[in-house]
């Protein structure tokens, strides 16, 4: 398997195409034949989600909030508009809300009913976020879930879970790590992880 994003599927090489690969190919052919989709548009959509959106976008939002108090104020007041200032907008990010971690509060985002996730700032969700174990447990045992990701939260930190049941999409603003006062926005963005912006980790 190669790490090239254009060719990281498991369907090539010695293995015969899987049943799903054949079924999806058949549906795509039929939809193209019927004029329902444009195959070049499908290529562009895959490229968009593999290369144009992803957690680096959200990391830039976080780093800007850490370094620019006026931006942070706008972000907390109207996250959709503030995030659009950085060029991130569109479907699954139309109604953004940013929730801030502090020394006293930790936030965790889930979608128990499906897998809602803020695509423009985090890209598509990882498999675990969409999985039944995470969707089921995040609301009843957030501390246990976060511990499984490697962070034991102190008892006296308040945990707020956000279940994305409507079209509001949540992004966690992590606390700026100590000792980063000298770092610029780009270096700070490199410290921000996807899990930190979902809330399964603290930075």
């Amino acid at each position: 398997m190669t790490h090239d994003h254009h060719d990281h599927n498991h369907d090539h090489g010695q293995e015969p195409p899987s049943d799903m690969a054949l079924r999806v190919k058949a549906l795509e052919s039929l939809m193209v034949e019927k004029g329902l989709v444009d195959p070049a548009a499908l290529d562009a959509i895959v490229d968009h989600f593999e290369h144009r959106v992803g957690p680096r976008n959200g990391a830039r939002v976080v780093a800007r909030a850490w370094t620019d108090p006026a931006f942070k104020a706008r972000l907390m007041a109207d996250a959709t508009a503030a995030i659009a200032e950085l060029g991130y907008s569109g479907g699954q990010g139309d109604h953004m809300v940013v929730v801030e971690n502090t020394g006293a509060v930790h936030n965790l985002v889930v979608c128990t009913l499906c897998s809602c996730y803020p695509w423009p700032v985090l890209g598509l969700p990882p498999v675990w976020y969409k999985s039944a174990p995470y969707r089921s447990r995040a609301v009843i045992d957030p501390r246990g879930v976060i511990a499984e990701f490697g962070t034991a939260l102190p008892e006296d930190i308040e945990v707020r879970v956000w279940d994305s049941t409507a079209e509001i999409r949540y992004l966690v603003l992590p606390e700026r790590p100590a000792g980063t006062e000298a770092l610029g926005e780009e270096d700070l963005a490199a410290l921000v992880t996807r899990n930190g912006m979902i809330g399964t980790a603290r930075l």
């Binding site: 499908l42 969707r135 945990v159």
Partner: protein, 216 residues
């Protein structure tokens, strides 16, 4: 519908198992399913798409991967709306006399489409509840689509934010129009939801439409 998709509060469904350096798509076909789904003419109604996946029978729903569910939901919706006939789905070929549609999305429109600002907010009647007001999540068990999870039904919470009126999924998913209703963020304490063993500081917030709520 009280289906297995409404899984908030269950335990023992397996380990969470995060994967290091996870690719966006694990197989090329997953990317194609995602692209087909968002480019499909059926994408116009996101609530209907969600409900179609929820209707996958529970044992299969739990056994299928995310993109297997998307593939099944897409295939079923294309047939339900007459974009593809069952015979065409069976043969994999368009009927000889089938009219050819024009794709809703061209390649040169993709970047704009995904950056385009949309909104589920709509003009509607003023909200009945104020911020800080105590509300009760109603004990509703509709047989169709709803975004009111079972784990909050009958529980008391507090309005912490108001979002104007949004498209109401319970109506929209069933072709009954957008039927916009006031939308609120409601905070429930972990103890209200899970009992006295829960940490007294913790809470869960959900975004709930006015028909799900009554004054506490």
């Amino acid at each position: 519908m009280n289906g297995v998709h409404d899984m908030g509060g269950l335990e023992n469904l397996g380990s969470i198992a995060p994967e290091a350096d996870e690719p966006v798509f694990h197989h090329a076909w997953e990317g194609r399913v995602h692209a087909l789904s968002v480019a499909s003419p059926t994408r116009r109604n996101i609530d209907e798409g969600r409900h179609q996946r929820e209707k996958i029978p529970g044992p299969a729903y739990l056994a299928m991967s995310y993109y297997e569910k998307w593939f099944r939901g897409l295939s079923e919706l294309l047939v339900a709306h007459g974009f593809i006939t069952p015979a065409e789905m069976g043969s994999g070929r368009a009927a000889p006399d089938a009219p050819k549609a024009t794709p809703a999305l061209r390649a040169d429109e993709v970047t704009d489409r995904f950056a385009r600002k949309g909104s589920y907010g709509r003009e509607a009647a003023a909200p009945a509840f104020a911020e800080g007001e105590a509300v009760l999540a109603r004990n509703l068990n509709p047989h169709g689509h709803t975004r009111l999870p079972r784990y909050v039904r009958g529980r008391k919470g507090v309005i912490v934010a108001r979002h104007g009126a949004h498209v109401f999924p319970d109506s929209h998913a069933h072709g009954q129009g957008e039927d916009p209703r006031p939308l609120y963020t409601v905070r429930f304490t972990a103890r209200e939801l899970w009992g006295e063993a829960a940490n007294a500081r913790d809470s869960v917030c959900l975004d709930l439409w006015e028909p799900y709520l009554e004054r506490a």
